[in-house]
């Protein structure tokens, strides 16, 4: 009954798809996930953590210098008043979206394959939102008055302008960050209980015990817990669609050619999911290899994720084409100029990088070989994120650099501090992710256990499915699943 991964992928409708390979029992799932946290720090972890920490240090230097000197240290200036700061912000918010899509939307659609990757994808969301919140926070220049963004009663009797999309953005992203943390923590509670019950040292007992809140897996508790999880998923679904829509309104509500289009909200959401899945693939390839989770995070998971990247990448390509059509059809010379300039002007190199990475490269995922090849997936996931970063750069900078008056035209060039802030944000992201995989269970074991065949209290009732002469999956590890009728 040795089924290879390739055999399982051959027939996607073979009864319930096998999501977890090698038929582990419940304890084996706990063991492989918890052991990754409990064993002494492997040297390979430092190999990722120390460079990430160094980049985080660079971020500290860059941000300190920014606060000391002001945003003049960056390359932005009239007419390009927004550049890498907002590019990075939109990029990082977008990365987060795949995590919420996996944890909330796929949950509502009963996509059980999400259980293997949802914990780490949600963690990715939180760290990406942290990176995203950094940039609007620091780009205001006078950070000590950043609290003016919030409706706080103050000595000047001034209130923020709630009609501004920039303020909608403050609310959308901070609510998104908060709800993502809540959702993630609720999902973690049963697994923190596992870590508590396995803890050997006093400090682990105290820390995990405190965080597990005294969880005891009672069915009366699971009843409220599952309802809470379902409700949070139902809340996070419209929330995640609203967040990048609101981010896109930062641009779309302005009257600038290149920004002022109604296609932006759906186009931004598709792009966000596209880049987010690429980041999930990057991280999951590393985790699966480093922690030997190839039976939990299987090629089937990558196959599904590659299909989502193919769909969303093609949607993004369609949006690029629609923008051009609209600018021509509008008959507005400024619109038309902006888009011709985008493709053929001084930033055409950035535009064609974007098209190559986002529209052309994911087409390789029409091939199943590519969808199930780890090296191709890994390489493309990085290419796609480069492309998606360029998409935001193209939207922001090319629309600004040719102002209505030719006397105000300019060309943005980044400075070393722009580069430091971008690299530093990756340092923050990967430092957090390294700490996450070191100290918290990176797979939701209590959810993965529910997709094992022996988790069903009724065993395999009904007619057994025979596919291509292969017997239905045996419920290995469960002594006698058909204990009674």
């Amino acid at each position: 009954m040795a089924q290879t991964e390739a055999e399982l992928l051959d027939n996607p409708v073979a009864g319930n798809p096998t999501l977890i390979l090698r038929s582990p029992d419940f304890h084996a799932i706990t063991e492989v996930v918890a052991e990754a946290v409990e064993r002494p720090t492997p040297s390979g972890w430092w190999f990722f953590f120390l460079p990430a920490l160094a980049l985080l240090g660079l971020l500290g230097v860059a941000v300190s210098w920014l606060f000391w000197e002001g945003i003049g240290i960056w390359g932005l200036n009239v007419p390009v008043g927004w550049a890498w700061d907002i590019t990075n912000f939109v990029f990082w918010v977008g990365i987060g979206h795949a995590g919420t899509l996996i944890s909330a939307i796929l949950f509502l659609f009963r996509q059980k394959w999400r259980t293997s990757i949802n914990r780490s994808a949600e963690a990715m969301t939180i760290f990406a939102v942290m990176c995203a919140l950094l940039f609007p926070g620091i780009h205001v220049g006078r950070v000590w008055v950043a609290y003016w963004m919030f409706p706080v009663p103050n000595q000047m009797s001034l209130w923020p302008n709630f009609r501004s999309p920039l303020l909608w953005d403050v609310f959308a992203v901070s609510v998104y960050g908060t709800v993502s943390v809540l959702f993630w923590y609720v999902g973690l509670i049963p697994d923190l209980g596992t870590m508590r019950d396995r803890a050997k040292t006093r400090i682990r007992k105290i820390v995990y015990g405190f965080l597990a809140l005294g969880w005891r897996g009672s069915v009366r508790q699971w009843n409220h817990y599952e309802t809470a999880y379902l409700v949070l998923a139902a809340l996070a679904t419209p929330l995640v669609l609203s967040v990048h829509s609101v981010v896109s309104m930062d641009f779309a509500v302005s009257v600038l050619p290149g920004w002022h289009t109604t296609i932006f909200p759906p186009y931004f959401v598709a792009g966000a999911i596209f880049s987010g899945f690429a980041m999930v693939v990057t991280l999951m390839v590393i985790c699966r290899t480093a922690f030997r989770l190839d039976h939990i995070i299987t090629l089937r998971h990558f196959d599904y994720m590659a299909k989502i990247m193919l769909v969303t990448g093609t949607m993004v390509g369609y949006a690029y084409a629609t923008e051009f059509f609209t600018s021509w059809y509008s008959g507005n010379p400024y619109e038309l100029f902006t888009f011709m300039n985008r493709a053929l002007g001084p930033y055409s190199w950035a535009y064609w990088t974007m098209i190559t990475c986002n529209v052309i490269s994911p087409q390789i995922f029409w091939s199943k070989k590519a969808r199930t090849s780890i090296p191709i997936l890994f390489a493309l996931s990085i290419v796609i994120n480069i492309g998606m970063w360029f998409e935001r750069f193209v939207i922001i900078v090319t629309s600004l650099h040719r102002d209505f008056l030719p006397s105000s035209w300019g060309y943005f060039r980044p400075t070393v501090w722009d580069v430091s802030c971008l690299l530093g944000s990756f340092g923050l992201f990967f430092t957090m992710f390294c700490l996450f995989v070191r100290f918290l269970p990176m797979v939701a074991t209590s959810e993965v256990k529910t997709v094992l065949p022996q988790a069903d209290p009724h065993g395999q009732h009904g007619p057994e499915r025979q596919i291509k002469g292969r017997a239905a999956r045996p419920a290995l590890g469960a002594p006698t699943p058909e204990g009674a009728s």
């Binding site: 304890h27 706990t30 009797s157 609510v175 697994d191 809140l213 005891r216 809470a228 209590s446």
Partner: protein, 185 residues
């Protein structure tokens, strides 16, 4: 007793804890315990076992109502805040728009509705589950440590009117329990 305080039986014994080998064994045992008329009892599993709450006769969680109230409160607060700021506290004409330009208030109304609803869901769930409760008599049991790993339990509390230390233990044994343990309070 107030809703949020821990509800634990008084007396020398907390109750009886019985371990079952598989979700199927637990499921059928729960049906029998339910039919025997016990009320102060619970089952414990490492993951949510599908349909077990029905086998135990547990009602649906009232949590969605808490979330609905919290969400509507948040939305009303968000809308009211924006109306108050722009039409009352600081009536400033911006871009020639009316002071009470309600369509522009919708995004933040929605976001605050979601925020409050999410808090309602999480804290409502913790409240209904009486968590955090870092001490519980069940944690005295050594085998219970595996409840978050691969073990399945039924616990019957001593203040159940039908509880009897020896007869209840025998009942659980007859239902196929692997081990039965009497726990102190």
């Amino acid at each position: 007793m107030p809703l949020l305080l821990p509800q634990l039986p008084q007396g020398p014994h907390y109750g009886i804890l019985a371990e079952f080998a598989t979700p199927a064994d637990l499921y059928h045992a729960c049906e029998k315990v339910r039919d025997a008329g016990f009320t102060k009892w619970d089952a414990h599993t490492p993951f949510p076992v599908h349909g077990l709450e029905r086998a135990m006769g547990i009602r649906r969680s009232p949590l969605p109502w808490i979330v609905l109230v919290a969400g509507l409160t948040g939305a009303a607060f968000g809308f009211g805040l924006q109306w108050w700021v722009h039409a009352s506290a600081q009536p400033l004409v911006i871009s020639g728009k009316p002071l009470f330009s309600w369509p522009a208030f919708i995004p933040i109304t929605f976001e605050l509705g979601v925020l409050f609803a999410a808090f309602g869901a999480v804290f409502g769930m913790l409240g209904l589950n009486r968590l955090p409760m870092h001490y519980h008599p069940l944690f005295r049991s050594k085998v219970f440590e595996r409840v978050t790993d691969d073990a399945f339990f039924i616990s019957i509390e001593s203040w159940d009117p039908r509880f009897d230390p020896s007869a209840t233990g025998k009942l659980l044994e007859s239902l196929g329990a692997r081990s039965v343990e009497l726990l102190e309070s």
